[in-house]
Symmetry: none
Subunit: 249 residues, 2 copies
């Protein structure tokens, strides 16, 4: 049994934090002295480490509490959701960064910067925002959602899906080399193999998938890994080459 002071020494966590964790029933002391001083054991230290670790992943204390309390918590989904959340936040920051850089660049060109200048710049940037917003809102449709819901849990991180994504991303890297490059054709061959292995007896499903893939909006709705049009066309062309080569052989 160690005192609260020992905890702060060993972990760097403040006394206040320990008391707070006790207060919200996230981590209670193993025991207390007669006078009410908190005493912690080895188990608590370990739990504290876990809490700290999960905090570095950006989870809220409430979420951490739920995770550690639920004996059969779905860690995979939990982490995936968190990853998605983090990615969204990163995207937001990315936009901020982009606008800030734009402003700073323009300010280098304009020599004098005051409120009036800024107002002009704001006008420009706000226009873009409104356009984007309008564009996105226009793309909503009820019927399309049903189709997407019928798809299996393709974004659930199973190895097959993962490889698909990995292969696509690799193709993107090799795009400059052209559809006939050996690396490209090897990847395409692997894709073909996987298509047969996984979806062999259900070609309609593949068609459906491909249709959604070809629509960026639908892909995004479905939570697919975003693939740009250029890449999709590249894949289609490379597949044609691949099939021709196979026929000749």
């Amino acid at each position: 049994m160690i005192s609260i002071k020992e905890i702060t020494k060993q972990t760097g966590i403040t006394v206040r934090t320990m008391r707070y964790y006790d207060q919200i029933n996230l981590l209670s002391p193993a025991d207390k002295t007669e006078g009410g001083h908190r005493l912690y054991g080895e188990k608590e230290l370990i739990k504290l480490q876990e809490i700290q670790f999960l905090k570095t992943l950006g989870f809220s204390l409430q979420a951490i509490k739920d995770m550690l309390e639920n004996e059969n918590h779905d860690w995979f989904s939990g982490l995936q959701n968190q990853l998605n959340y983090i990615l969204k936040e990163k995207e937001k920051l990315g936009e901020m960064e982009s606008i800030l850089r734009g402003l700073l660049h323009e300010m280098v060109l304009e020599e004098q910067i005051d409120l009036l200048q800024l107002q002009k710049l704001i006008q420009i940037y706000q226009k873009d925002f409104h356009k984007r917003e309008a564009y996105l809102k226009q793309m909503f449709d009820q019927e399309e959602r049903k189709l997407l819901d019928m798809l299996p849990n393709i974004n659930h991180g199973d190895p097959d899906t993962m490889e698909w994504i990995a292969l696509m991303a690799q193709l993107k890297q090799h795009m400059l080399k052209g559809v006939s490059a050996p690396e490209v054709q090897r990847i395409i061959r692997r894709m073909d193999e996987k298509t047969v292995e996984v979806y062999g007896d259900c070609p309609e499903f593949i068609d459906k998938l491909w249709e959604i893939r070809k629509s960026p909006e639908k892909s995004q709705e479905a939570g697919f890994y975003p693939v740009d049009q250029e890449l999709l066309e590249f894949v289609e062309k490379a597949f044609v080459i691949f099939q021709n080569n196979r026929k000749e052989a």
Copy 2:
């Protein structure tokens, strides 16, 4: 002069927000009716737009207030500071993302995840980087270290790493079918291709890597992601078969 309702209609900003801005003296109404209802003019609308815009850059309301109040505010420095701040935040999120990806990748390999598993993973991640660096330095020379950097690091979401993990995980699924099963051999062939693509003409390096991989202790010291022994042996055997088949062909 327009009412608060008009403001919400035109800008989408809530009544509560307008009252709050009034309360903190960020944006006060131009006038009030006898009964105390807020009335805004064109100037206020513009200021409100500015506020909204600066908010999208991540500034706090207090900061925005200071900026708009100070007649000769140093916009350039202000924006630059904000950019730095944003970049730091992005970096933090990037680390979270990296760790999350690492965990998720490992979870694709392990099928069951519970608190005990997580504790093990936490142990690995909490290990300090210095130990790893030191260990790796002593094992590999300079040139090899360059290659080592290309080694699939489980934290990086790059396509090559993803495919490695996906292939490993798929192998695990197919283990029961034996080392000669066509699915297995196709995966092995793909692994071989990738090995050659990435590490090309340096087979000794691959041997050394493989040696570390086969020793759980060494792997852990090097900070590699954990792969169970059974799977590693399976891969080795399957590779032997693969190479024999190739010789015969």
